[in-house]
Amino acid sequence: MLQEAQSLDAKGFSIDRARNALRFERELRAPAGEVFDAWTDPGQIRLWWDPTGDPLGECEIDLREGGAFSFVTRAHPDRPFTGVYRQIDRPALLVFDALGAEGRVELTEAAGKTAMIVEIICADEQHLEQFVQMGAAAGTSRTLDNLVQYKG
């Protein structure tokens, strides 16, 4: 039937263009409570947030709805990842606004593992473009493997 132009590859990345959302799906080898804490405990998040593997230079978290957070990498102190928590529902859901987009982390535990869905939802198509461009500017090396394979 009619589906949105959407791609989901083996590693669990998709673009939901109807909602201007980028969606990552992952299975993590830990219970949901531990995953939730890794997202909300500054002592933990500073250890994994920076893709380079360096600990964060600064990490501040005011963990309540309406509370602010700020993650600053050592490589790019000029580009902090800042936002405000909107919904805190341990261990199932964490919603925040960051850089003008909404972030949603949904955690579902099964047999000691956790299915994690992270969505970055932008206000509109233009904002999605801006958001990706910011990420790309901070990003790592460009690899050219295909996301989507079209039959034909």
Binding site: A5, S7, F13, F24, A30, A38, V118, E125, R142, V148
Partner: protein, 111 residues
């Protein structure tokens, strides 16, 4: 050239900003289709579908197949690859981040 790539990318994103055109692209991702084949699921008139196809063709996302009689439309994968390549660095950054998270969660605690 970099400037041309930028322009092509903008044109592709602009064309994909319409829900009907995205649905047409989704349909064509399953194989080529003629205008009348595209009309059926969308309940649009032929001029409306043709108008959307024209936008997609101008953006380099869709081309006409070889069969001169049926004039089927099909996707041009290269244009979509442009969109994908543009997303790649962003996507990689988040994926590495989640790799780090998984590693962090499976590392024995010190406390």
């Amino acid at each position: 050239m970099e400037r041309n790539r930028e322009q092509e990318l903008s044109a592709a994103l602009a064309a994909l900003s319409d829900v009907t055109r995205r649905a047409i692209v989704a349909r064509l991702s399953q194989g080529e289709a003629t205008v009348s084949e595209l009309m059926k699921p969308f309940a649009f008139t032929q001029p409306t579908i043709s108008k959307h196809l024209k936008v997609l063709e101008e953006a380099g996302l869709v081309e006409r197949g070889r069969d001169a009689q049926r004039r089927p439309r099909r996707l041009k994968p290269l244009a979509l690859k442009l969109v994908d390549d543009w997303l790649q660095p962003f996507r990689r950054e988040w994926e590495i981040r989640f790799d780090n998270l998984d590693r962090h969660l499976t590392t024995p605690k010190e406390k």
